[in-house]
Subunit: 488 residues, 2 copies
Amino acid sequence: MFGKEVYAGRRRKLLELMQDTGKEGQRGIAVFLGNTDAPQNYRGNDYKFRQESSFLYYWGIDEPGFAAILDMDSGEEVLYGNDVDIDDIIWMGPQPSVASKGERIGAGRTAPYSEFFETVRKAKTAGRHIHFLPASRYYNTMMLSQLIGCPAEAVRKTSSVYRTSPDTGSCNTEAAASLELTRAVISMRLIKEECEIEEIDKACEIGYLMHTAARQACRPGVKEQDIVGIMEGVTISKGWGVSFTTILSQNGETLHNHSHHQTITPGRLLLIDAGAESNTHYASDFTRTLPCSGKFTSRQRDIYDIVADCNELAFQLAAPGIPYREVHLAVAAKMLDGLKALGLVNGHIDDMVKEGIAGLFMPHGLGHNMGIDVHDMEDLGEDLVGYDDDQKRAPQLGFGSLRMARSLRPGHVITDEPGIYFIPALINKWKAEGTDHGMVNYSALEPYLDFGGIRLEDDLLITEDGCRRLGPHRLPIKAEDVEAAMVR
Amino acid sequence: MFGKEVYAGRRRKLLELMQDTGKEGQRGIAVFLGNTDAPQNYRGNDYKFRQESSFLYYWGIDEPGFAAILDMDSGEEVLYGNDVDIDDIIWMGPQPSVASKGERIGAGRTAPYSEFFETVRKAKTAGRHIHFLPASRYYNTMMLSQLIGCPAEAVRKTSSVYRTSPDTGSCNTEAAASLELTRAVISMRLIKEECEIEEIDKACEIGYLMHTAARQACRPGVKEQDIVGIMEGVTISKGWGVSFTTILSQNGETLHNHSHHQTITPGRLLLIDAGAESNTHYASDFTRTLPCSGKFTSRQRDIYDIVADCNELAFQLAAPGIPYREVHLAVAAKMLDGLKALGLVNGHIDDMVKEGIAGLFMPHGLGHNMGIDVHDMEDLGEDLVGYDDDQKRAPQLGFGSLRMARSLRPGHVITDEPGIYFIPALINKWKAEGTDHGMVNYSALEPYLDFGGIRLEDDLLITEDGCRRLGPHRLPIKAEDVEAAMVR
């Protein structure tokens, strides 16, 4: 948790950004709904609590049962929550009062949770604008849907200023979340503050420790699941937990593989894509691909070096003013160049880039924003977050999945994660459908059908004059460094 | 996952149990909704998937996006789910077909998910009974609410057979979940099968390993959070994860303490209540209380021995035909006897038990059912699960929180978890309100106000002639054994 001036400052800035949404006295209220506990198998047996990210950003309170309202006409800020009773004390221990929690985040006033509902209802009856962010969790979706009187689908979609009809109290739009508020929040959260960067550095250090532990545990005969436990144990000892479900698999060609039942086998590759969330809920996200035998085969090394070069290229190119979509395309060109040298593709590099041939080998984007969410703010709208107003998402496989295309600015935190995968079902599909315009050498690909996949990922902070890799230590990435670091 | 005969057999038995719910041809359908992914911070970044427990019990499928219907008139069983497309293969890898998944659990027929909605709507239009269990997750609550046309609150409450009005299609009851189906499911899941007991034994072994790792890590200067990570890492390496959020605290007097920021301090007690969920989703649940210095003080030892004796007494008494509520009361008597010997309470033991004096020191019940859920089936209704039809919940603190009161039967799996806590806020409240009828010696309690709490928990299987402790190894519990096992 940061100091009260951080949260108060953010809310002040948000208020300023929202000044243009309406005339004085007609701007309405901004409603922030914190998360409740999420049942794992039954209510009361909940997953580890995770606060709603924007609530955390503006209001700092990291526990269930809170909401807040920013009155954009009067400037009043109110934090809503209930004080504990004797039953709560028996089960959860004595707790600070809601008033003292409000004090810690510089909120002008606190009130019981029930007043939150009343205030929203009153605003609705008075026909005031009610701005809120698209809901993520199902419970919040239900709550907002009931409170605002809109279908569940509508409270997840953004449109320009939402207003209930004062006459009927019913929803007059199919998209009830506020586009203006969403844009304002995105513009703030995209540019990380110094105190946030410190926390991301910490999360990256935990990521370093978890990948180091994994590398030390990786040897033939060990179960994948054993390694996952060792890694995730580190994240719980040092932070909140994993920032996303760990991907750890010898079938690296499956991009998000969450089954870990296999045994580490000599000659295969182990792809590990995993990150930590710090105790303050900032994410890290790293991928390394290890040789299970301790040494890459010559074929593995060929592909590995291309991916490592691509990772390095993106790091070299990322700088203020450069659109990250251009970096994605430069990486695609570099990758195709390497694959061409191996005889796997043929044609002019520019033509191949244009035809999206890289997508066969890397059917995902080069990277995404990272912050309080590992895919930062993804629920606020992928395109709103990752694309400038004048940018459009490409239709091609891979390039079309690019989550961060924006022109880079100091304070952006992004991932740099090129990969090359040999996905039999996809290769067969392209071959059958002629998607490659004759640019893929399918017979040369045959020996690669059991190759798996390689991905190498670092986290970058855009600085005034370029970028730096986040975290105090960098995981070994050059093939020879990885081999030297493996325990045999 | 068990063999297909297990799931087919359970569904056959359920069908038999439901025969009495209506005349032939008028019994209706039983609808089972599997869980979907639960968003952690945004949709797509989900908590580790956990299947709905009763869906797992009857249909065995351990992945999101499935539903099933048991037609209780025709006997037809249908599993609903969607086969994967090329996008799914890229991200999740090739998957077995829904048809082959149905085959593995002996389901007569499989169909795409959309047919599930159609089938329920048709049954509704035809005015057939639609039986379903009270929904746990919010998403399932929303889905059922929309599908059945009842308010969200209604799909969480059980009543005798629910029926939609064929005329209006609207909900004609405030409680729409089926009491008959709920009772039938509870009657089956309460009595564990051999194959389930084997899995619970496995979960208990993981619990043994996690507590052993914690004990080895517990020494002055270590952070509580470090120990939690070590423990939870074990559960992820060897099983699905924790069966509930780990309770690990030197403030053991807080029953469910999930904050782990303190440093292990000489002279204090560390209470650890934690369990694992096996890869097949059976739970374990153990509590031990360790002396942070490696040796109990004399005052700690006095209280520890009382709790250990209570734990042993419950084990000795638990047997078929004995109501567990009687065991709770016998433990309360034993506890008061020990506290009386220390001069902390005074009066006749029977009177003190009757007045619920034990509740001041143990404001929770002696134990609960355990199985696929650590509090087994809690969302089906605590009283329906834990109380026989002729039993009523007591109003007293502690005794009133007893989750398992039933007359014990072979196959019941329950916890045995007495505890003694010194909770300043509760002691002050009783003193101020005279709740103790003069039976508590408050001045003698003064030196205990910073004591913390002790709980000792094992998991029991009721056998034909008594009970056995679950798991191949028992964690040290006698004070001298605990001290000998501490690393110093």
